[in-house]
């Protein structure tokens, strides 16, 4: 038991270090990210003034980078939430140091992703109409309901496990933090004192949220898929789309969590707590999802292509060997096969290798969403040529700004909240040492 308590100080110190110290490197990175965010925000203001005409979209390809990013970034959110929920429900002890990072990623990416729904609107000042004359038959309305419900659940899922840590901050940080953060800790910790009764209710709440968040996340990605699948367009009108999108979201989501965990582990020197084991196990999850995703993709292509249906063949042809062939095969090999191989081969299963694999997956899956949306729109509904699409500077600036906002907001979140779940890690270790006393001393090495 001594060991655990000695670790507790170290653990607390590491988890709250980013709250107490920021340092020069933090400020430089934050500044660079903030510049990108500012450029993106400026680009959006420009678009608000001049209309969607400043994008590369046209009346053939009327959806572009914004809708691609909406699907892509909300997908990332899904990974964080479901990974954390499943690992909690199955009682995997190794999850403890990464749940906070995963849940924060889920929350931040959801907010950034959902913003793209508004960025894409042609007339955002009419948005209040959603509340005046909503059409329950519209998949967009399903989206709004699903995303808002999921947002609420993600906030709770981030907040509940945080309560004991907020109490630790309240009790131990003292004058190391300013008035505002102190106030946040006092108010949000809800008078937590670690009483058995409080522990019981908290665990109960976390468990309920872990169960609820899984179907909610499934619903969000299913309705996003139905946005496309309910139309009669070749390439979109597919019964497989909802589960296909769910697996895609999980795949890219787990990859995003790997990147966030590896990034914060290195930047905040958390190597003693987040071992290679955590990153490796996450990668195994990614491997399974990657294989599942490739299976879905193959099944979709085969069933659509086999009948040589006149409406779907042109879309498939443009993907397999037409205009979009290079991008498609780059996705299959770079975003699918190579990352799966990197994880599968023990020799390449190092932290660097896994980070490379995850980066490939995250970018490959963005490309895949491009390949779902744009080639189907390029395939005209009458056999005539269509206008091509490439994103304008404004669209790219907004996308890059949004991507920069994700790490920036995460960095700011961990200026206020502990980067690891102190309470959960202690709980897991105490449980372990009670069960297998001889292993408790070896925990640090694991």
């Amino acid at each position: 038991m001594d060991n655990v308590y000695k670790d507790r100080d170290k653990l607390q110190e590491a988890a709250v270090r980013p709250i107490v110290h920021s340092g020069r490197r933090f400020r430089i990175v934050a500044l660079i990210l903030a510049i990108f965010v500012a450029v993106g925000a400026g680009a959006y203001i420009y678009q608000l003034i001049h209309g969607l005409g400043v994008t590369g979209m046209n009346n053939d390809v009327f959806w572009g980078i914004y809708i691609i990013s909406l699907v892509d970034i909300i997908g990332m959110s899904y990974g964080g939430a479901v990974v954390s929920a499943i690992l909690r429900l199955t009682g995997s002890a190794w999850r403890a140091p990464i749940t906070r990072l995963a849940e924060a990623t889920a929350l931040v990416t959801l907010i950034i992703g959902a913003l793209f729904a508004i960025i894409d609107l042609g007339h955002p000042t009419h948005i209040w109409r959603f509340f005046v004359s909503p059409n329950p038959a519209s998949p967009i309305l399903w989206d709004i309901v699903a995303i808002l419900t999921y947002l609420l659940a993600t906030v709770l899922f981030f907040y509940l496990p945080l309560i004991p840590d907020l109490a630790i901050c309240r009790d131990s940080l003292g004058d190391k933090v300013g008035r505002w953060r102190k106030k946040i800790y006092t108010v949000l910790s809800l008078g937590w004192q670690g009483l058995p009764r409080q522990e019981k209710y908290l665990n109960w709440g976390i468990k309920i949220m872990s169960i609820i968040i899984i179907p909610l996340a499934v619903s969000v990605h299913s309705v996003l898929a139905w946005l496309f699948a309910v139309t009669s367009r070749p390439g979109w009108h597919s019964t497989i789309f909802a589960p296909y999108f769910v697996v895609a979201a999980l795949f890219s989501g787990v990859a995003a969590v790997v990147l966030v965990v590896a990034g914060f582990r290195k930047a905040y020197h958390l190597e003693n707590f987040i071992g290679e084991k955590q990153i490796r196990y996450l990668s195994y999850l990614m491997l399974v999802l990657g294989v599942m995703y490739l299976y879905f993709a193959f099944s979709e292509l085969l069933t659509e292509g086999y009948t040589l249906d006149t409406t779907s063949v042109p879309v498939l042809a443009s993907l397999l060997y037409g205009n979009y062939g290079p991008l498609f095969w780059f996705f299959v090999i770079g975003g699918g096969i190579i990352p799966v191989l990197i994880v599968a081969v023990p020799k390449t299963r190092t932290v660097t290798g896994l980070v490379v694999a995850s980066a490939l997956v995250v970018s490959g899956m963005w490309l895949k969403r491009f390949l779902i949306i744009v080639p189907a729109l390029r395939q005209a509904l009458f056999p005539v040529p269509t206008q091509s699409y490439s994103g304008s500077f404004i669209e790219w600036a907004i996308l890059i700004g949004a991507l920069a906002a994700i790490p920036l907001i995460l960095m700011l979140v961990f200026r206020v909240f502990p980067v690891m779940s102190i309470h959960e890690m202690e709980e897991v270790e105490v449980k372990k040492s009670e069960r297998q006393p001889e292993l408790a001393s070896g925990l640090e090495q694991a």
């Binding site: 209309g51 959806w63 005046v132």
Partner: protein, 248 residues
């Protein structure tokens, strides 16, 4: 010739909304019941269409559309035997309209006389209706429309002029004209008289020079509707005649 014109003129008056003068006096909107006495439709004779594009021009001029927006678009197509032919495509005014179902804010709706219109003061510009439309008949206003003279009537969903940037617009069958007995811009603009405007309720159709019983015109010429398999029930019929299958 004179008799033809007289027949055509008479039928336009029959086609038209009769309470023309009443409307002009008190500017009131006719009741739904009165409006639903007409169910507008169109028959396009592909044998006559030579692809000149005057219909598109007349429409864009009438509605002050941004260049590039073509509420009636003429496709140049090739049949299975290699024969070239032209296909003017207005909005099909589907009875079972997919665009109408997906609109999240009820900005697009069907008028009592069976025409799909967009209230651009409601439209949020999400463009899902463009994804749902199987005929590519909907157009998003990416740019500001040309300025319109201030002598024009006040804009409404039936008379969406000028278009509003950031919202979706579409062919409205010129119901602001046809309700008062005038023919749509594309019909009068067609030098080949290839476009017939008709009314399913009174079973009449005219291209401005000839008039027919609409059902006879459709049946005796084996007119077809596009993408029948989607069950959208379009109100635009095409008379083929180049051996084309019109099966896209």
């Amino acid at each position: 010739m004179a008799t033809l014109a007289a027949v055509a003129g008479g039928s336009i008056a029959k086609l038209g909304f009769i309470k023309n003068d009443v409307q002009a006096k008190d500017n009131s909107v006719p009741s739904n019941e009165v409006l639903s006495q007409h169910q507008w439709a169109m028959v396009i004779d592909l044998r006559r269409c030579d692809g000149c594009g005057h219909c598109t021009e007349a429409c864009s001029k009438e509605h002050y559309l941004t260049p590039g927006i073509t509420w009636i678009k003429v496709y140049e197509l090739t049949g299975s035997l290699g024969q070239k032919y032209y296909l003017p495509r207005p909005c099909m005014q589907c009875e079972n309209a997919p665009c109408l179902r997906v609109c999240p804010v009820h900005a697009t709706y069907k008028t009592p006389d069976g025409v799909i219109v967009v209230d651009q003061n409601i439209c949020i510009g999400c463009r899902l209706c463009m994804g749902a439309c199987p005929y590519a008949a909907r157009y998003f206003n990416f740019k500001d429309p040309p300025t319109v003279p201030n002598t024009l009537p006040k804009p409404s969903p039936e008379w969406p002029v000028p278009q509003i940037r950031g919202t979706v617009g579409k062919c409205v069958f010129c119901i602001h004209d046809t309700r008062v007995g005038k023919l749509p811009a594309c019909v009068t603009g067609c030098p080949m008289q290839a476009i017939y405007y008709g009314d399913l309720a009174t079973d009449l159709a005219t291209n401005g020079r000839e008039a027919f019983k609409l059902s006879t015109l459709i049946k005796s010429n084996d007119a077809v509707r596009l993408k029948e398999e989607l069950n959208t029930k379009p109100r635009v019929y095409y008379i083929p005649g180049h051996g084309q299958d019109l099966n896209f």
